[in-house]
Symmetry: C2
Subunit: 132 residues, 2 copies
Amino acid sequence: MLRSMGNQDQQFTISELSQEFDISTRTIRFYEEKGFIKPERDGQRRIYSAADRTRIRLILRGKRIGLTLAESVDIIDMYDHHGSDAAQLESLLIRVRERRAALEQQRRDLDEMLSALDDVENVCRNAQLTVS
Amino acid sequence: MLRSMGNQDQQFTISELSQEFDISTRTIRFYEEKGFIKPERDGQRRIYSAADRTRIRLILRGKRIGLTLAESVDIIDMYDHHGSDAAQLESLLIRVRERRAALEQQRRDLDEMLSALDDVENVCRNAQLTVS
DNA sequence: AACACTCTTTACGTTAACGTAAACGTCATC
DNA sequence: GATGACGTTTACGTTAACGTAAAGAGTGTT
């Protein structure tokens, strides 16, 4: 786990992140408003760390699979939840399994839908041959 | 494709479907209000066909993977879109491929998230051994 | 007839996730 | 010192997907 720890202290402005992820600055401020990220300040200006940037990336990934922001954050927080307490570990494990069950159901639904689209595509091809 | 055509003419009341799918009757009427299903009537009462029922099932599957109702219906309508016209077939094929690309991206995101959860679970196990 | 259901329409309320606009602060630059 | 470019706060607006409540119709039961 020992990394070279090069430049973890990189910083970003709001417009940089906005452009990189193709989201509005309003969206980024909204995430902060909801407590999902907590950038530092240089006077009034917000300064985002590499960790903030990663959180945004993960939130957006969650969005793409249809999770709400709260759900995404809930999952993300599992990653670095160092609840050393044994009871906390247990409840964390339970939550992880619940999430995984839901995500696996999602994957089944996704696969069904994909194979249905495959069928449509094949039917289309055949029809094209018939027509042409 | 010749099926035995047993009882395709089955009918359902709104409360039957509501219970079967564990959604409210309001939701079912809402779907109709939006034009996603068009049940017949017995006087005032709505009567749902097997096809209506299937559409609801597919809409709900779409919901589970995070699609909007409009998106779900858009995909569902691809299934029985018998656009015999060659140009229509072509544009349908394009739309099918677009959808599939998005769904495949979704599956990648899903798989990443699942493997991240696997990691969390393993870390938890190790921590449990350390603690106990 | 009175009730109990199930269904109907109409309509206002709610939450999430932002969009949009107004009004202002801070630098650099022309 | 005015003009941009970029940032800030505050606040009202918007859409999707229903929830919830009110008031009534139809059908069967006691």
